[in-house]
């Protein structure tokens, strides 16, 4: 075995080509450095400064912002009038509800699509359509359907002689509208991933179970679910991170309103940065978001590892 690995290594990386690989990697490394790692470090640095739109400098003037230590963090974490806890609560609600629906719908559709039957691929194609729609177009379409005066949903309500709802100006209904939009956008990814996971389950397992007289439900409970565990854990983590950072849906469906009640951390920080120009505070929010995501995904991987069968 070791011999084989050695032989393979020799084959793919011949001696004397050490520098060549770095020539091939250089473009991607430089690009990632410039657009991801440099901004990341700079962004963390900004959270310890008093940077704003004037002190950040421009093409003709050098930057003049200054290091102020932990002031921004004190302001956000410990001052009484900080919005952090409220917005964090909204973000968690937004993320958990969305990911639950994404996973639930995705799992349901995937299971229904898994068996061979006529028109199966047509249903799969139709169910995937939301994935192909740009998030901002989806946001506009749903915003229009939730329109208070002439939107589709209120027209339907009125046809049934019910009171129209002022969707976007009531906190609860505004959050509902934003979540409805994002559920629509996000379930196809889960569906497709789970469908691919189902394909990897060996048919022999089911045959054996049938021979043993296991019922449909028992097969589902003891074969399908455990076998789907790895792919489910991955897509739930990915979905969680993506939804936590989801910018365009909230920004365009509710604009964070009414009175900031549907704001999530990502949109709140963006507004702080590019509408109020509190660049330092917004950077601090960015660092806080990153820390939360790192802590949560670490806990998540630990927990799921321990319970792994």
């Amino acid at each position: 075995m070791a011999e084989a690995i050695k032989a393979q290594k020799k084959q793919v990386g011949p001696a004397g080509t050490g520098w060549v690989v770095w020539v091939f990697l250089a473009p991607a490394i430089l690009a990632m450095g410039l657009t991801v790692f440099y901004p990341l470090i700079k962004g963390i640095w900004f959270s310890f400064t008093d940077i704003d739109q004037y002190s950040m400098g421009n093409a003709f003037e050098a930057p003049s912002y200054q290091f102020i230590g932990l002031e921004n963090y004190k302001e956000i974490l410990f001052s009484g009038d900080s919005d952090l806890l409220r917005v964090l609560g909204q973000t968690v609600l937004w993320t958990v509800v969305n990911v639950s629906f994404h996973f639930g719908l995705g799992l349901m559709f995937a299971l229904l699509l898994n068996h061979g039957f006529k028109v199966r691929s047509l249903f799969r194609l139709l169910l995937m359509v939301p994935w192909a729609v740009p998030a901002y177009v989806a946001a506009f379409s749903w915003r229009w359907m939730f329109n208070g005066d002439y939107g589709l949903f209120n027209q339907i309500l009125q046809n049934f002689h019910m009171e129209p709802i002022n969707w976007l100006s009531k906190p609860f209904w505004a959050m509902t509208a934003a979540i409805a939009t994002n559920v629509w956008l996000g379930y196809p990814f889960m569906m497709v991933s789970i469908l691919a996971g189902l394909k990897t389950i060996p048919g022999a397992l089911y045959e054996a179970a049938m021979l043993d007289g296991a019922s449909r439900f028992q097969q589902f409970r003891h074969i399908t679910l455990p076998m789907l565990r790895p792919v489910s854990l991955s897509v739930i983590l990915l979905g969680f991170v993506w939804t936590f950072n989801m910018f365009p849906v909230i920004y365009l469906v509710t604009k964070g309103g009414p009175y900031g009640s549907t704001e999530i951390l990502a949109t709140y920080a963006y507004r702080e940065a590019f509408e109020s120009w509190n660049l330092a505070e917004a950077s601090t929010y960015g660092v806080i978001i990153l820390s939360i995501l790192i802590v949560l995904s670490t806990i998540y991987s630990r927990m799921t590892k321990e319970t792994r069968v």
Binding site: Y38, P39, G57, A132, L279
Partner: protein, 289 residues
Amino acid sequence: MNKNDEVLTIVGSDPLGFRILKYTILILGSFYAVFPLLWIISTSLKSESAVFSEKLELFPSEPRFANYWDVIKDNDFIFLKWFGNSLIVALGTTLVGIFFASTAAYAFSRFRFKGRETGLFLFLVTQMFPGIILVIPLYQLMVRLGLLNSYIGLIIAYSTTALPFCVFMLKGYFDTVPKSLEEAARMDGLSHFQIFWKIMMPLCIPGIVVTGFFSMITSWNEFMLALTFMSEETKYLLPVGLKKYVFDFKTQWQLVSAAAVMVTFPVLAIWLRVQTALMSGKLSGSVKG
């Protein structure tokens, strides 16, 4: 043949009630999936008075195709300008992205080197970084370099958005090319660069096309950076242009819908064509994560 029979018996053994339930859910689900698009197509064909009326109709009684022309010719054809801006940025991003992705994918596929695993892992981790922490320093950089409202600035910023996915995708394609081809080429005295350019790239054109389309769609659909970096009206990209229409004082929903249809359908058409290839690639990326 045998297998088909088996599948048929399994399906046949479904209780009738279960089958009815299954088709009901699938039909309702498909309706849910497609309806918002149908609704904006419907709205885009209505007259202003039909849009702002109490009557509910999915198929406008007098379809008004002139809405599309109204959007296009509005304000000195500015919609076409935005369309062009989006197209230039998307094409630029695609070319630059393919260059970065194919070279890196070749290195990951064909060389074993120190930090290879870490490098692949880092690519995936960057997917987790919140956009907001990156956009402020990038904005400052653009201001300092005078690159706000320029195509170049945005193309640079976009060049790595789809990079991790494209690298994984192309690496998968490169891995399928037999090593014996390269050995033969090396015997003939070809360098690694010649092998990359004359053997790998031509053999993997399907993979390059798919990753190219993916980069293009990612760029076409991106909203936050486009909103932040392109603030002059003539430099708007489509998402920001549409946002202006929606949040104008009195939104003309039939025109917004017509614009949205024109923005969405090119992407939808491409997406449906490359969906199977994308799915398998996207998945291998996410499962490894």
